[in-house]
Symmetry: C2
Subunit: 308 residues, 2 copies
DNA sequence: CTGAAAGCGCTTACAG
DNA sequence: CTGAAAGCGCTTACAG
């Protein structure tokens, strides 16, 4: 049934007859048994924070397509940015025979590599880098630098003003991406001869709720809206937009709003929306190159695109 | 390692010692071998059209969460509304031992039930119904009726006008959901003493591109915008919004726009957006009820919610 | 009560 | 060249 008859003295005619009968009876090979014997399952596991935004859903969709085309069986599991769930999911995928584990935006990729290593299972990091496995990520610094510059150009600054009153909001202070994006944000200020205020950098988590709360507090402490906003992900953007929705959505039109990540509907909100679109197809291409021929534990950075 | 020691005369102390050593060595049980022997894999398979919209991504996310809570191993695969890929994916999931196959928005759910039946594998349909397995779907007729009524209320109709000039766009004429939504659309007209024009019902596929092309053609043939628009899914909405983006996004404010499906950013586009939000948590609750205790091949309809 | 054998559905090295 | 045995990592019915 698996084609090995070709290596035997079995006629094509007989083989076809057998295959035909098997097909009629609805025979489906048991890949679990095959995997057990061959010590090769063809399963490619992926853990990903969530499905419900364009960046991650597009990663999941492209990954599945390419994996199937390469003859693998893709299995994705979403782990809600919960490090404990990430470990459980990793073990579970290994239990089910995953040959290789792709960790997307994992809280602690090195901890997962630590689990897979003794079992001889490879790990590849995507979106957030680690040190124990090859990593493929966006060039967050450059993309953030460019996004910030573009927002600053659109700000309504007084002559001789040294500060921008531009707010950076959202993200996780412990993750590499947020750190690099803050760095790009700060450097873009300096590059323009401006300085960002300390309390204008609000790292309050990615979640919509926490971002909305944070933004609301910021506005009341600041006694008004900032000059412009840099939102760190579409997930956080939901929180910011919710605040505007509750307090007057038209105010969105008066303020330059940059968002790190892209969404087709969000891109059309307000008159001043600028979005960063990460290059998912290219990241996936690099991922399958890495799967096909393993390299060293280096970080590959992919350029993102500015969408206005 | 699997807990059966409790049925033997093995002391807890010894068991713990063994488990501890196994843990230190990074032992992970092989679920494929276990599944082979027990003839029970714990794998729950799901096929779904795409991940990249809120409705399907939320189904995927909730499914995974509940499956894991119920002790199953969820495996989702997206099949791009391609009937051939749906069959391949179904066979593939069966090969990997899926105990039960959940078909979400499948083009031909009965064809898949036909494949799984001989292997003794259950099928459950979600979103689109079939006749060979239990189905859990949205009450499309009622939701469409209500959405249409709400759009009609907002139309700027002349006194004595018999037609609404309200456009229905998007969807697939062969699928049950589109048929029911068109029925609700027509009946809501009649209920108001109005009639929909024939050429104002444009079933042009769900894809953004085909909807944009169709809308563009409609506007030029109609020599202008319709009075209002009923868009059949957020996927089709992307096409309509793209058209407005290219031709003047401000015009969105002047036209009541209803969309069957919900998206947090789309909900805030224009001043006249009305969205139908399908009740994913309730659908998932019913799904796991069905998984736990199989019923007959009936269709369960879940009410959707209107979001303004 | 418990050790050891049989067997799940495959693949492949080996004997004849 | 090819039939039949061994074995992948588990679980469980059975013998003693």
């Amino acid at each position: 049934m698996n084609g090995t008859w070709k290596r035997r003295r079995i006629s094509e005619k007989l083989a076809e007859k057998v295959l035909e009968v098997a097909h009629q009876h609805g025979y489906i090979p048991n890949r679990q048994a095959s995997a057990l014997r061959k010590n090769r399952s063809g399963v490619l596991g992926m853990i990903i924070p969530v499905y419900d935004n364009r960046y991650f859903s597009s990663i999941a969709q492209t990954f599945e397509k390419l994996a199937r085309e390469a003859g693998f069986f893709p299995t994705i599991t979403c782990t809600q940015r919960d490090p404990e769930l990430e470990e459980i999911a990793a073990r579970s995928l290994m239990s089910y025979g995953a040959e290789c584990l792709i960790c997307v935006g994992a809280t602690d990729p090195d901890a997962i590599a630590q689990i897979t290593k003794p079992a001889g299972i490879r790990t590849i990091n995507l979106d957030l880098p680690g040190t124990q496995a090859p990593s493929i990520i966006t060039d967050n610094y450059t993309a953030s630098f460019e996004l910030t510059k573009t927002i600053i150009e659109r700000l309504d600054l007084d002559d001789g003003q040294r500060t921008t009153d531009l707010l950076f909001i959202g993200g996780n202070g412990n993750d590499h991406n947020t750190q690099q994006r803050v760095k790009g944000f700060v450097d873009a200020h300096e590059d323009t001869g401006l300085i960002p205020q300390d309390n204008f950098i609000q790292i309050c988590g990615y979640e919509a709720d926490s971002t909305e709360t944070c933004f609301s507090r910021f506005v009341s402490e600041n006694s008004g809206l900032p000059n412009g906003i840099f939102v760190n992900s579409t997930i956080s953007l939901e929180g910011v937009i919710n605040w505007f929705h509750k307090t007057g959505i038209h105010r969105l039109n008066n303020i330059p709003l940059g968002c790190f990540d892209w969404d087709p509907f969000a891109a059309l909100l307000g008159k001043n929306m600028i979005m960063t679109r990460q290059n998912v197809p290219e990241m996936m291409r690099m991922l399958f190159k890495e799967i096909a021929s393993p390299s060293s534990n280096e970080v590959t950075q992919i350029k993102a695109e500015l969408v206005m």
